[in-house]
Symmetry: C2
Subunit: 206 residues, 2 copies
DNA sequence: ATCATAAGATACGCACGAGTATCTTATGAC
DNA sequence: GTCATAAGATACTCGTGCGTATCTTATGAT
């Protein structure tokens, strides 16, 4: 339902309150209608304001789009549970949670934007990150090596990042959350064996 | 350049010649402009014809879209080189070749269509396939077991289909062909070890 | 030669959204 | 209380495409 002011309280929003309402509206429209549905008209209506208000702040659609995404882009915490398996499961479940999943699915939601601008999802990620970051799974593996849980041998990035790539693959194919059993299977029957670990001591994944 | 007839040869196309020209034009527009760019106006212009000609054959945009995809949907041959590794490399390289890759990337090109219709890429695949098919990698693994190259033990679908999922993941992320070294790495450092094989006897991948 | 069919061209009314102009008036600084 | 600023509303021109109506005429069957 529109946040348009009711007639009995003709209060005009200003500053951060107004801009937050617009950015929130833009995010909702983007997620529900995709990039092509993200129009000034639709966002203004959803935010209960009017087009000149948006044009004054974001003269181009790309400006509005990037401001919207930047507001919702937050890196995930990297877990430290004491066990590589538990670290990986915790992290992948966080990736699969609604907020993080939605950001991954931007790869698809913004396909027309990438084509139109000749940019890529990686370009967008680089633009939004303050600095280069170690991939989270590389950090988890490094900690496991420190704990003596894993042998300190060279491993390809492909193998280290494997569970994240597989979870992301399933998300991109289904556009939905990945079942928890799938996350457990990926870690237990694919990743840990490849790393030279067995899930022998694994407890129930819940 | 449009296939519109030159004035010196005012020949009107009919039947298959006309329909093939339209479907070819539709495919080009779809691949270049995405689903939203696939308009009757754009396709008619590209095909060198006019909108009534399209509307007479395909009254709805979805009709035109599905006819276009059906014309280009062809299953890949499953290789039989005598070696699981070589079978997998050959198959994945075919997947990575332009025609097959383009069909995989429809997952992204048609994102707005799927959202609008509440359907999925899997629905589309089911609709286009004459019958349920064994996933190609399952066939390759079955043949390796028959040759005695692999132990005959139960294996999860996840593990069997892994290299295809990883190649597809990289394609969806980059919207481009996957480097050949990546395909070799996926087979040699991820898949074969998981299956209990070593690429020891592996020759150069070319 | 005749003729039914349909290709191709063009125009039309309509819907939708971009982007801007214009207006009223709420609002917060002073 | 005054006043500059901008929120919100509304209207406008323009561009684009939908889907259909109308027309001319090429074409292949007869």
């Amino acid at each position: 339902m529109s946040q348009r002011r009711s007639e009995t309280t003709p209060t005009r929003r200003r500053g951060a309150a107004l801009e937050n309402a617009i950015i929130d509206a833009a995010w909702e429209v983007l997620i529900e209608q995709g990039y092509n549905g993200l129009t000034f008209e639709a966002v203004a209506a959803r935010a209960g304001t009017s087009k000149p208000v948006l044009y004054r702040r974001w003269p181009r659609r790309e400006d509005l789009l990037l401001a919207t995404i930047a507001r919702h882009w937050r890196p995930l915490d990297i877990p430290d549970t004491g066990s590589l398996r538990q670290d990986a499961l915790t992290f992948l479940r966080a990736v699969n949670a609604e907020r993080a999943r939605t950001l991954i699915l931007l790869r698809i939601q913004l396909a027309d934007y990438f084509r139109e601008t000749g940019t890529t999802f990686s370009d967008l990620r680089r633009r939004l990150r303050s600095a280069d970051q170690t991939p989270p799974l590389a950090t988890l593996v490094a900690r496991a090596i420190e704990r003596g849980e894993l042998a300190d041998v060279p491993r390809s990035e492909r193998v280290v990042n494997l569970p994240f790539d597989l979870v992301r693959h399933d998300m991109l194919m289904s556009m939905e959350a990945v079942p928890d059993e799938t996350i457990v299977e990926i870690v237990d029957t694919v990743w840990l064996p490849l790393l030279g670990l067995s899930p022998h001591g694994a407890q129930a994944g819940h």
